[in-house]
């Protein structure tokens, strides 16, 4: 379901050195697709749940345990984009803070129920073919 997001990242972050997915949960396929689409970019995924991270297969995408509420900053340094798919509303502020601290763009794809929680004055809609796919912060047009 996130094919369009992968495509958009591919189009917009072709020269990114590092892209990070926060709160990867049980699925790593989106990060892997991004890594395949952008073979020169380091794609990293994080989650607070250590056993989830440990269950990841060793592949092209590196999985690391970290809590975005208390981030290990040097993990994120140099990232052009951090993104989170279906993050619980409670971590969005921490995502914002982190993105601002490291100067990265932030893409958030909330579940539909939490979409309207993002303050509209700071967030920009990510629109592809007329549909809203997610919300962006810092992204320069």
């Amino acid at each position: 379901m996130f094919e369009q997001i992968v495509e958009w990242i591919k189009q917009n972050y072709g020269d990114a050195r590092k892209i990070i997915e926060i709160g990867v949960g049980h699925r790593i396929d989106v990060a892997e697709q991004i890594s395949k689409a952008l073979p020169r970019t380091e794609v990293l995924v994080t989650d607070t749940n250590e056993s989830l991270v440990r269950s990841r297969e060793i592949g092209r995408v590196r999985a690391v345990t970290d809590d975005v509420m208390f981030p290990t900053l040097n993990l994120y340094e140099g990232a052009s984009l951090i993104y989170s798919l279906h993050p619980p509303g409670e971590i969005v502020q921490a995502l914002e803070k982190l993105a601002n601290r490291i100067g990265a763009d932030l893409l958030v794809v909330p579940i539909s129920d939490e979409r309207h929680d993002l303050p509209q004055e700071r967030w920009r809609e990510l629109v592809v073919r007329g549909r809203i796919l997610g919300w962006l912060l810092n992204k320069r047009v």
């Binding site: 379901m1 996130f2 072709g14 020269d15 050195r17 949960g25 049980h26 699925r27 073979p39 020169r40 607070t48 749940n49 250590e50 056993s51 991270v53 440990r54 269950s55 297969e57 060793i58 592949g59 092209r60 590196r62 999985a63 690391v64 345990t65 970290d66 809590d67 509420m69 208390f70 290990t72 040097n74 993990l75 798919l85 279906h86 619980p88 509303g89 409670e90 971590i91 502020q93 579940i111 539909s112 129920d113 939490e114 979409r115 309207h116 929680d117 303050p119 509209q120 809609e125 629109v127 007329g130 549909r131 809203i132």
Partner: protein
């Protein structure tokens, strides 16, 4: 020492200083051999051979010309085109006879040495600027396994030369600033190990950089499948200090990679059933690998990532190191949370665990199994050592200088609370209560998760709690509830907001945590897993808020949102549930009636929380109710599962669909205890706006008069009939005027996001006071006290 113009060099003759000639990989292997590490015998085709090849065939010039065209460009296509062209030229050019002759003769020598006249070899590129501490890029150049015979070898050596020019390698060199013409490539040729099993050993924990662990991953057969990420490996963790195996995780291994004798290549085959669930390494092999890994790390004085293979022979198993390289990810970061203090490196580590709240503290340990003992023994700045904490421990955690628990992970109670308080904390420190001594001094390094004997001079400054709570939070007549998505944070939210309850506990993130489509779970016999996970999530929220109400809203994923879960494709797409607009599709109450077995699992979870955990403050809310019939049917299922309305169990519905607004009196008559407005969907449906359609979002406004009228109607009908009213959409968080509207209309409560609770309470308090004042004025006016509010001084 090999001659600088050598074409072929035996591995045992090279050392680390020969990097320019044989590349980092081969130089490392030679160095390891010299150190006595068991490395498969072989030789290197030198960088000089490659240079001569380029020169004699004159294709060096063509290559650099082609590269020149793509230099500095950021267009990936140009890199790809250049790469394709170069590789074609490189691989098709005949190898000059003198070079080929030397390669062939080295191969024959290897055949003799191994006693196999057609020995199979692994051919790997070994770039002269690869594998340096700051330049590792796993898989950057190619590896060819199971190569047999002189002709094949020559062919694959050339293929390896070509691998220096993959688009990724070209880009990488530009990125790191290595000039292309300076980067030559050597090729390592080694006897293939007939691996029983193989894998990778890291001399630090690759997921958190913990240098006190050795993490070993292994699988059956060749290591190719593991490095490429095709199989999930068995995983072993060895403590570096004690060399004890502290963690073992054996997973089913369905496929393995084996040499294919017919094609001479490798093939993927199914692991026989009897070996699938068996550990791919014995405990003894794990320890042997760990010891070898530490030896290699000591030798290089930096963390390593080591590929190994275990071969079964007539005399038992032998371990081979196939490759080693510096671990670049964490070593660049110098540890999990900043620099490690060099002066504590040599101290005696007593226990290890997971660094849950970073910091460093030295003090006396108090081993306290119960809060009663903590109360008796804990003094300010002591190290609290126990099995696990719970909310009863908070007073002792507050005075602790550091916390060490035997159980738990990054999201356990001790971890969350200590981070909040800024107290260094290590969780999951096995046997800490046994290994640490009462009253003895220790240094807790909660940056790397280690407790050392004795004191360390430097102690990190204590960090201040980040959130400041206003000293006076007003009590309001209108209850201010909070919306919660992540149960793990409920305790923190409760502590920080003092909300009057939870007006919306979302189930969607619990489902994401379970990690599978519920239908798939049921088919796999995992229903209980879902019930337990949901019950645990709800318990985590209901406990800190008890006895205040917690309203659990049943799962309301839109069908497309289920697609993210394994099984989603089959049970949503293929089942025909994903319509053109999922927001208007197969969702909400309708779904519970259509697939009652899934809904029943949610009901059972709630029942478990209410009955087993005695948390009777948990109530249920049905989302997206469209018709009376759906409501009746869903309520019937709830009742069948033992959730019947009564004095201490309330059933709410969400008002999101205009039909519910128009028929609210009928719903009240049917039997509901409360309603909550979902303004996002209500606005969408009243105004006829597709929330996903970017072109019409400018009309979207929860303050539209039609939406306000709808809410006003519902509140009035409910108030008359004694049904509680609330709102859990985003409108009150975004618009103060909506808050005032709801208070004036008589909404009983409103539920907002955690960061808005205190703000909303202050706002509601002000509005309520205004209303009281207005009421007083009106009363006085109606009592004829016209001048009551006039100045009292004489006219």
């Amino acid at each position: 020492m090999p001659r600088p113009d050598a074409i072929v060099v035996r591995l045992e003759d090279v050392r680390k200083d020969d990097i320019q000639l044989v590349g980092g990989k081969c130089a490392n292997l030679g160095e390891l051999m010299a150190k006595g590490v068991h490395v498969p015998p072989g030789f290197a085709v030198t960088a000089e051979a490659f240079r001569q090849f380029l020169e004699e065939t004159k294709i060096g010039e063509i290559i650099h010309k082609t590269l020149g065209n793509s230099n500095g460009s950021k267009d990936p296509k140009q890199y790809e085109e250049a790469s394709e062209e170069i590789r074609k030229i490189l691989e098709s050019a005949p190898m000059p006879p003198d070079i080929a002759g030397k390669v062939r003769s080295a191969y024959r020598e290897l055949c003799e040495k191994t006693g196999d006249k057609n020995v199979t070899v692994a051919v790997r590129s070994s770039a002269t600027s690869e594998d340096l501490p700051d330049a590792s890029f796993a898989g950057q150049q190619d590896t060819y396994l199971n190569v047999r015979g002189e002709d094949q070898l020559v062919h694959y050596v050339q293929k390896c030369w070509g691998s220096l020019y993959t688009p990724r390698a070209i880009f990488y060199r530009e990125e790191k600033g290595f000039p292309h013409e300076k980067v030559l490539i050597s090729v390592g040729v080694q006897k293939m190990v007939h691996s029983k099993s193989s894998g990778v050993a890291f001399t630090l924990d690759p997921i958190n950089g913990d240098p006190s662990k050795i993490v070993i991953e292994s699988t059956w057969g060749l290591g190719e499948a593991l490095v490429a990420g095709i199989v999930r490996p068995d995983r072993f963790i060895v403590d570096k200090g004690t060399m004890q195996l502290i963690h073992k995780e054996i997973v089913p291994k369905m496929v393995e990679h084996l040499p294919n004798d017919k094609t001479g290549l490798t093939m993927q085959s199914e692991v026989p059933a009897e070996r699938r669930n068996v550990s791919s390494l014995t405990d003894e092999e794990v320890i042997e690998i760990a010891k070898t890994a530490v030896g290699i790390e000591d030798h290089y004085q930096t963390a390593q990532d080591i590929e190994f293979a275990v071969e079964h022979g007539s005399t038992g198993s032998s371990l081979y190191v196939v490759q080693t390289r510096p671990e670049t990810f964490w070593s660049k970061m110098k540890g999990p949370a900043g620099e490690t203090d060099s002066h504590i490196v040599h101290r005696v580590a007593v226990v290890h665990g997971l660094a849950a709240s970073p910091g460093l503290h030295a003090g006396k340990a108090k081993i306290v199994p119960t809060t009663a003992e903590a109360g008796r023994l804990m003094k300010n700045k002591d190290i609290l050592v126990t099995r696990m904490t719970n909310p009863d421990w908070v007073p002792y955690m507050k005075i602790a200088g550091a916390i060490v628990t035997e159980d738990g992970g990054t999201t356990c109670h001790a971890a969350i609370v200590s981070r909040e308080m800024g107290i260094p904390c290590i969780v999951g420190a096995r046997n800490a209560t046994k290994l640490m001594q009462m009253g003895q001094e220790y240094t807790v390094d909660a940056k790397s998760g280690v407790v050392y004997n004795g004191l360390v001079e430097e102690v990190l400054k204590a960090t201040q709690p980040q959130h400041e709570i206003p000293t006076v939070i007003p009590i309001t007549a209108t209850k201010i509830y909070v919306n919660i998505s992540l149960p793990e944070l409920a305790e923190k939210v409760e502590r920080e907001t003092h909300a009057d309850g939870v007006g919306l506990l979302r189930a969607e993130h619990m489902m994401l945590s379970v990690g599978k489509h519920p239908r798939l779970l049921i088919e796999e016999g995992g229903s209980e897993k879902m019930v337990d996970a949901f019950a645990e999530g709800v318990r985590k929220v209901a406990t800190p808020f008890a006895p205040r109400p917690v309203v659990y809203r049943c799962l309301d994923f839109k069908p497309d949102e289920f697609l993210g879960l394994p099984g989603g494709e089959k049970y949503e797409h293929e089942a025909g549930h994903v319509g053109p607009n999922p927001l208007l599709g197969y969702r909400g109450c309708f779904r519970y009636v259509k697939e009652p077995d899934i809904f029943r699992l949610e009901c059972q979870a709630i029942k478990k929380v209410r009955e087993e955990y005695k948390l009777t403050n948990v109530h249920v809310m049905l989302p997206f109710v469209r018709t009376l019939e759906d409501f009746r049917n869903a309520r019937k299922i709830l009742e069948e599962e033992g959730l019947k309305r009564g004095p201490d169990f309330k059933l709410w519905i969400m008002v999101e669909v205009p039909a519910t607004v128009l028929l609210i009196d009928k719903f009240v008559d049917e039997g509901i205890d409360g309603i909550s407005f979902g303004t996002n969907d209500l606005t969408m449906l009243i105004l006829g706006i597709d929330r996903d359609d970017a072109s019409i979002q400018e009309i979207y406004d929860e303050r539209n008069l039609a939406v306000l009228r709808a809410m006003s109607h519902v509140i009035r009908v409910c108030s008359e009939k004694g049904v509680t009213t609330s709102i859990c959409g985003q409108a009150p968080s975004n618009y103060p005027e909506v808050v005032e509207f709801l208070v004036r209309e008589g909404a009983v409560s409103m539920s907002v996001n955690p960061d808005k609770v205190i703000e909303t309470k202050l706002l509601v308090a002000a509005i309520e006071q205004k209303l009281i004042l207005e009421g007083m004025r009106k009363t006085r006016q109606s009592n004829g006290e016209q001048g009551a509010m006039q100045p009292r001084w004489p006219k």
